[in-house]
Amino acid sequence: MVAYLARRFLTLLLVMFVVTMLIFGLMHAVPGGPFDQTQQPLPGPAMANVMRKYGLDQPIWRQYLNWLWALLHGDLGIPFEQPTMTVTGLIAKAWPITLVIGGLTILVSYVGGLVMGCAAALRHNTWLDWLLTSAVSTVGVALPNYVVGFLLISLFSVKLGWLPVGGWGQPQDLILPVIAFSLYPMALMARYTRASTLEVTYADYVRMGRARGLSERRLTVRYILRTALIPLITIMGPNIPNILTGSIFIEATFALPGLGSYFTTASLHRDYPLILALVLIVAVLWGTCYILSDVAYTLVDPRVRLEGLSR
């Protein structure tokens, strides 16, 4: 297991290296630089001063090597758009907010989705099944989270005045954004859980167990749910990085000063150091989640073996 993990992490490092190199090249290739002015372009000497100040007057390969060298020393650089902070400081400030919202979203959506999906499968073709899968899940999948956000704000903030319209700093600020952010993954989870649970419910080994006289509770917990979890891990894995890096729509709708908005603003402003740092975060999260998904398969189903492990 250790050797397997070591190999996967080494591959991840290589992938990150390639990804950052590609991104570095691409972001310099698109038109417009971080210090281009819109109203009145800077005269030549003034622009030269700016480029020199930020090291952008050097050849691109040297800029990349400088960045890489700094990274190896734990320095992600200075964001062009907020030069009084470091990229590390900026991420350290914004990401915890996104992680709190994201963590609660994962908890609510995955637990809620599992419960809804199981309940619908175990009571399939009943009113409960219809309510959970058709009404709640379809609405959850169909409605974009910013629309849900606006609806929640209109009802609970503007009309009823019960909850804040947005902001950050008090526990009640969390309620609406987490609901809005959770709805889609919860609906998705519920639908997949229902489908995979139903599939297992009619499997031969479950019938066999029932014939052997195992109780329904034991069958459900030990056989049906456990096997049904395997396809769910495939769904859950890729969703986690998306949720943990934030939703620009949710953060904008509810005025949360999290990480999500930086993914677009950094690109729009051509803020090279910040773009690279965010790409690194996403790459690491995706890589790690895939590795953890593979490990989770073996925990849920011992028959699954990791490639390269001795049998």
Partner: protein, 595 residues
Amino acid sequence: MSDLSSGQSARLPHLTRRGFLVGASALTLAACGNTQKATSGAGSKNALGLKLPAGAASAGDQYYVLPFDSTGASYKALDFYENVYSRAPLADQFNIPLVRLNQNYQIVPGAAGGWEQSADKNSWTFHLRKGIMWSDGKELTATDYVETLRYSADPKHAWDFSWFWSGVIKNYTDAVAGKVPTSSIGVKQGKDKYTLVIETEGPVAYIPSACLYTTPLSAAALHKYGSGSYNINPATCVTCGPYTLTKFDPTAQVVLGPNKKYTGPFKPPIDTLVGKIYAGGDMLPRFQTGQVDQLSVTPLDLKIAAKNPKTKALHLYKNPNDFEIWYTFFDTKKAPFDNVKVRQALAHSVDRDSLIKSLLAPLATPAYGYLTPGYPFAVEDPLKPYTNYDPAKAKSLLAQAGYPNGKGFPPVKFYWWANAVSNTEAVVQALTHTWNSTLGINIQLQQLDKTTFYARMNKKPTEIQMGFVSYGMDYFDASNMLSVYKSDGRHNWNNAQYDKLLAKGAAESKPPARQEIYTEAQVQLTKEAPGVFIFHLLYGYYYAPYMQGKALSKNKNGYDGIQWPGFGATSDSLQGLYVAQNKQNWPRQKPSGIS
């Protein structure tokens, strides 16, 4: 930052059903409890010792919360001479410029009580008021202005607005290029420490107007900290304005509290300013629930607000803010737009009044020329013969250019970038449809992201054949806006006669003579049609009903609400706004972190 960011409050307790209901009730009460009703403070004094006007709320309620949408923006500094294009909300409050702008767009005394141009017209002398003190105990003197302007020209500082004084202040251009030391620029102390002399490259008539942007840094603090960034840290902030920094969080909130050491001449009734920073999202609910005291509205907001009984009763304040014009520009060096008749044909094909009525009203006015009515030296009637809606004339001009009924006219890409405030998508679609259907030509729309658009437009030679763009003023004089079209400027229309008129206008000190020169320049620009001018943007604002004062009243041009350059040290709106008693029970939430 909040408790939540440290992760402590995020650990929610185990919830039973009863617990949930109790908690939900408590949250509801807590949320409702934030709403405030201001009590009377008339006759009492605020934190700066100013007696509050009749009808004012108590001193504790004299705070003003402004929303800022940080989408597409970044906040690096609070001072003009540290960074211009990325100043944070509530910038420029820590100092007093030489001059200020009043509600009627007149230049009035600021830190300088008076000024005059030298006999040879090559320099201006400003006489500073005595006794304005910085919060570190030093007096505001000419040295602060001299050191600030020298700092702005320093190549190491790489100031993003150095073009502003280039070619205006003597030796400034060479200092920015590193050819001469910054100490050689034409800004120096005069006969005493209260006299500031600005030497210009030649006669420059508009210096007082440009000096609206002389918000100085403290020379002592600048030397001590090495840059103007000291003002984004409450511990190092040095101010001679009525406010001081309490909190600077460029992703969430900027808070300014009263500078109790203030000795300057302009005391505001409002003690505390809060800039709420939102990364997008819908601002209207934030205004409706009392999170903010003011709202900048888009045409879409107006439609939504009209359906709500509370908001539809609000007065819509309208003003041109930075006198922004939206126009279509051409690459005049290449066919088909190198032919003036083609450009004139497009100018005569636009029914500006209908377009504005159907798409932009009430937040725009038709642009028959480049300058918005009300802007210095702007004229309208002499320009209408060149821009009036006349499809028959347009067709005839196109035929004269060699494209009868559009025959032989090459396909053209029309580039634009989306802007919700100016509803640009609808406008460019309407324009394209009009031109194609009226003239029988083939113009195709192509959207770009803003940065790419400007990068391609600003390339020399330009990479955009035809585009839709805006320009807002930098200082309040025709020489600023009209210079956009001078040779080798923003666009590639070169006209020696026009350049000569601009140079003559900039040097002329007598207003009637200047008017004559700038009228001629505007006629020339409009007649040659290097761009088709479409509309002048009006900004719409809602203020919560308890926001009151002279600053919101109508000016001589009929514009109202707080006007350019906003609520701050550079305008007289600072003294003219206060929080009145909340008689209409409009919801108001006091932001956390203010006393």
